[in-house]
């Protein structure tokens, strides 16, 4: 039987606010346990939550960027359950009326654009962490993360393969980092995805029973986990079994998903509107202010790179893979006008390779757009060959400085002077009359012999195009 896979994703994006969603405590990662938990985060008797305005603004920013609808009035609700790292015994979240409804993320996969619809995005607080090691059999509670603002972004079940799901997650990751609302650090848990996966016979309308998979803390694990889960569900059904609705945990070490809790264990969270918080009212003026401050979004920028710079769709996609890279490219274009393809090649080629090698983000690149621009201009005007340019690039990367200074000091200037090249060629022809005769007799392979020797004679600095032209003329007897 042919199976169709149905996947929806729930993503928790940690909002990059300085303070927590309902308290003034800092949100920085990695502090000493409980050093960033104030009275409100500890849920001492009598404390009350106060909404963080920036968190709301980030939610609006996301809603606009994803073309969703911003609720003029949304409600915070309490989700009640007991757990030691949930200090109040309830999580403040949004239930019936989220701050953002609808919207979509356009996913590119193998040259196709696939729209994935969003159900909603809502604001909520994170819980703390339970630490089970190093406490002699007891558990430690770190409430630094408690109250960190999250935007939970829920997609419709629009994805049909693990690859599509990963492409969606990547596109979403790019969007939230692009608009500056999330640092996107998956290792630190700033961007966490849960996948709802089900399968059904191709052509069937009704959805199959779904499982929710948690602990997908990298795109690679997400793909593997979903693929495992698809195989598991199909295998189960084909062998006469049934999929049970449950939450499953992905174990990357064993590359499998394991049952965590079934639907029967599902808790009744007893949601009700939080009486400590007034309805969140967002006026049109605020929405418009946020809209006007939005940066150009990745899809629009990609299209502009194609139309304005004449880049291929592929190059434009690669360059807009992240906001910082796109910004770098645009800054570079400022220094090397009219050479979009050259710039694109260097950004996605040499520069990316060097960044990757040294494990750097592009915003921490050791070569600035201005420095790289100085280098590319010397390719543009024929001073440097590609090979020489790479040598300068390496020097710039390790020692800094400016391309022009390095070209001088290394004597790497390309020889483009016609008379100099002609002299070299003439001397060469005079020294090898036999080969000249062979060439003229039609043995064109000998051409390479002359190029090689000419280059050798000038230390490899000859402008190859010019050298070729001169050689062709002279050998032809002109």
């Amino acid at each position: 039987m042919d199976w169709e896979v149905v996947i929806g994703l729930e993503t928790h994006a940690q909002l990059a606010t300085r303070s927590k969603i309902f308290s003034g405590a800092a949100t920085a990662f990695g502090a000493t346990p409980n050093a960033q938990a104030c009275a409100v985060d500890l849920a001492l008797p009598g404390v009350l939550p106060v909404m963080n305005r920036t968190a709301v603004e980030y939610a609006i920013r996301f809603g606009l960027a994803a073309e969703g609808v911003i609720a003029k009035r949304s409600i915070f609700a309490r989700k009640n359950y007991f757990y030691p790292d949930l200090p109040k015994g309830y999580q403040i979240s949004q239930y019936e009326i989220p701050v953002v409804s609808g919207g979509q993320i356009v996913v590119e996969l193998e040259g196709l654009e696939i729209p994935v619809r969003l159900t909603r995005a809502h604001l909520e607080e994170d819980a703390g962490k339970s630490l089970h090691e190093d406490f002699h059999g007891l558990s430690g509670i770190d409430l630094n993360r408690a109250g960190t603002p999250l935007l939970e972004i829920v997609s419709e079940p629009d994805m049909r393969s693990a690859a599509e799901a990963v492409a969606y997650a990547r596109a979403l990751h790019r969007l939230v980092t692009w608009i500056g609302i999330c640092d996107g650090n998956m290792q630190e848990g700033s961007f966490r995805c849960d996948a709802n996966v089900s399968v059904r016979p191709k052509g069937q309308q009704a959805y199959g029973t779904r499982c929710e998979i948690k602990n997908l803390n990298s795109f690679r694990f997400m793909e593997k986990a979903i693929e495992f889960e698809i195989r598991r569900q199909i295998g189960l059904i084909e062998s006469g079994g049934n999929v049970v609705q449950e939450t499953r945990l992905y174990d990357p070490d064993r590359d499998e998903t394991r049952s965590m809790r079934s639907k029967e264990d599902a808790q009744d969270y007893r949601y009700f509107p939080d009486p400590d918080l007034l309805p969140l009212c967002i006026d049109v003026a605020w929405i418009e202010r946020v809209r006007n401050a939005l940066p150009e979004l990745p899809d629009a920028m990609r299209r502009r790179f194609v139309s304005d710079f004449g880049l291929s769709s592929y190059d434009a996609s690669v360059l807009t893979a992240s906001f910082d890279q796109a910004q770098y490219f645009q800054a570079l274009m400022h220094f090397v006008q009219g050479e979009a393809k050259l710039c694109a090649n260097w950004v996605s080629g040499e520069l990316s390779a060097a960044l990757h090698r040294d494990g750097l983000e592009i915003r921490h690149s050791r070569i600035t757009p201005q420095q790289l621009g100085g280098l590319l201009r010397r390719i543009q005007d024929g001073t440097l060959s590609g090979k020489m340019a790479r040598e300068i690039f390496d020097a710039l990367w390790s020692d800094g400085g400016e391309a022009d200074t390095l070209i001088e000091s290394k004597g790497l200037k390309q020889i483009s002077d016609v008379s100099t090249l002609e002299k070299i060629v003439e001397a060469l022809m005079a020294a090898h009359p036999g080969q000249v005769a062979e060439y003229r007799a039609g043995k064109e392979k000998v051409f390479g012999f002359f190029v090689g020797h000419a280059m050798k004679a000038c230390g490899g600095r000859a402008n190859p195009a010019q050298l070729n032209a001169i050689l062709k003329n002279r050998l032809a007897g002109k």
Binding site: L44, V50, N80, P84, G89, P275, D276
Partner: protein, 488 residues
């Protein structure tokens, strides 16, 4: 100086004129507490050293000429207000080991004003009760009759003021917890408009209903204290930002033309004859002062008790989840695992009335019951709000009894929670609507026990309500009567 007969205003005047020092005042009140409170049980905690230190600071401030109206005045605080360095128990075993690391906004306001913390007063556990019989720290006795309840949940504050163990005390009111004990103890008490007094640091019972207020012998003293207590606080999202107001400014205004609305639902049966007689006499007094009576109706009054006992427990069940034995408060000494620790800690730490309300609240919020109970109650709450809106188109103030009867005896209603809940029938709807309410002494009923007259005003009409109460208190002396025990 006879503390039993000196008002807060007079004490403030004496301090300013240096006829008495704050230290002397504090010592005198602490002495009264030491002598009389063992009979009453109004206080859970006193701290002589701390209070006297604050008194000395107040005395320097008075000497330096920077004193405010409350500088040097000892004020007792309901043990629901978190007070830095003080045991803050909320009347519960659950918090019997909780020394607050921070001050409630209300405490901050009093500290800034230079008032002294005289002690923390007893209360029904987590403010759940109408008789002060649910406190882990024992019952509070009514100073007028030690076999009777003082009312609740602010029974300790009310009894302390009635016995003149404090010139004023803070209190909170979720369904009548200021007005009902004020009535039963023969003192004045005001619950301001919801949002006027910050709830930050006031341990939550039912967040949408809880409101801090004050009890004192007279309306004038209430106004003076309210001036310090009211104020915007950014840490409470339901705190209301509005220009500050002097709650004593309108006290002397004449009452000519005042229209008093009398809801027929407050007078039709259910009220004992002695209370009805006292209220009728009070209304006649108001007529002599220039007011007229208007018959009005609050048709949904009877629904206020059931609505309250859905909404308040719902909020409470969630508010009290933080008392889990993990970070502070009572933790069972022995347990098998996490769930067992939760269960035992909460089973041991909470009393039966608190458990009853947590269970009720958990039930009404549960899947399948939420719409029928919680949502339906919210709809009826809206109707109750509308009842008041309509009423205030016909009258300037609503009056009636604060309670159906005078103080009842210990154990009289503990066996029947519904009977206990019905003792708040006249006060609960005011919380549901978020309106200000006031109770003032209006004579005595059966057994020589005080009767309270309730005044309900429109939103933010506190100064006006205090004016009405003050004019009445100028014409009568019920508020200056003190129980025999207090004059000892």
């Amino acid at each position: 100086m006879n503390l039993a007969t000196t008002s807060l205003k007079q004490l403030a005047g004496a301090l300013r004129k240096r006829q008495v020092s704050s230290r002397e005042l504090a010592q005198a009140y602490l002495e009264r507490i030491a002598r009389l409170d063992p009979m009453l049980g109004a206080f859970i905690t006193t701290d002589h050293e701390c209070t006297l230190q604050q008194a000395d600071a107040a005395d320097s401030r008075i000497a330096s000429g920077t004193a405010g109206p409350l500088t040097g005045i000892p004020v007792a605080h309901k043990d629901i207000f978190c007070t830095q360095g003080w045991l803050t128990t909320c009347g519960s075993k659950m918090l019997s080991n909780f020394v607050s690391p921070y001050d409630a906004h209300v405490i901050e306001q009093f500290k800034a004003a230079g008032a002294l913390i005289l002690g923390k007063t007893n209360m029904d556990e987590f403010a759940m009760g109408s008789s002060n019989e649910t406190s882990f720290y024992g019952t509070v006795k009514n100073p007028w009759d030690l076999t009777r309840v003082p009312g609740g949940s602010s029974g300790g504050s009310a009894a302390a003021v009635a016995a003149r163990l404090a010139p004023a005390a803070t209190a909170t009111d979720t369904g009548g917890s200021i007005r009902q004990p004020a009535a039963l103890c023969g003192i004045s008490g005001i619950k301001p408009t919801y949002g006027l007094v910050s709830r930050y640091g006031m341990i939550a019972y039912a967040s949408s209903l809880d409101q801090g207020g004050v009890v004192a012998p007279s309306a004038e003293d209430l106004g003076i204290v309210l001036n310090t207590m009211v104020g915007f606080d950014a840490r409470d999202s339901t705190s209301i930002q509005r220009p500050s107001e002097d709650y004593t400014a309108l006290l002397e205004q004449p009452l000519h033309g005042l229209r008093i609305g009398l809801p027929k639902e407050f007078f039709s049966g259910g009220v004992s004859a002695d209370v009805e007689r006292a209220i009728e006499a009070a209304l006649q007094e108001y007529e002599r002062l220039g007011a007229t009576r208007v018959d009005i109706s609050l048709p949904n009054t009877a629904l206020s008790v059931p609505v309250y006992y859905v909404l308040a427990p719902a909020e409470a069940s969630s508010n009290l989840s933080r008392f889990d034995g993990v970070r502070f408060g009572w933790r069972a000494p022995q347990y098998d695992d996490l769930a067992d620790m939760y269960e035992r800690s909460r089973a041991q730490g909470f009393g039966s009335e608190v458990k009853r309300r947590i269970l009720t609240g958990t039930y009404v919020l549960s899947r399948g019951y939420y719409d029928a109970y919680y949502l339906q109650a919210q709809r009826v709450r809206r109707l109750i709000v509308n009842d008041f809106k309509n009423a205030f188109t016909q009258c300037d103030v609503i009056m009636g009894p604060s309670t159906p009867t005078v103080a009842f005896g210990f154990g009289e209603k503990t066996g029947d929670p519904v009977q206990m809940y019905l003792s708040d029938i006249f006060t609960i709807s005011v919380n549901l609507a978020g309106l200000p309410g006031l109770s003032i002494p209006a004579g005595f009923g059966q057994g020589g026990l005080p009767v309270g007259l309730q005044l309900i005003g429109d939103y933010f009409s506190e100064a006006h309500l205090l004016n009405l109460a003050h004019r009445y208190q100028q014409a009568t002396d019920w508020h200056s009567r003190i129980p025999a025990l207090a004059s000892a």
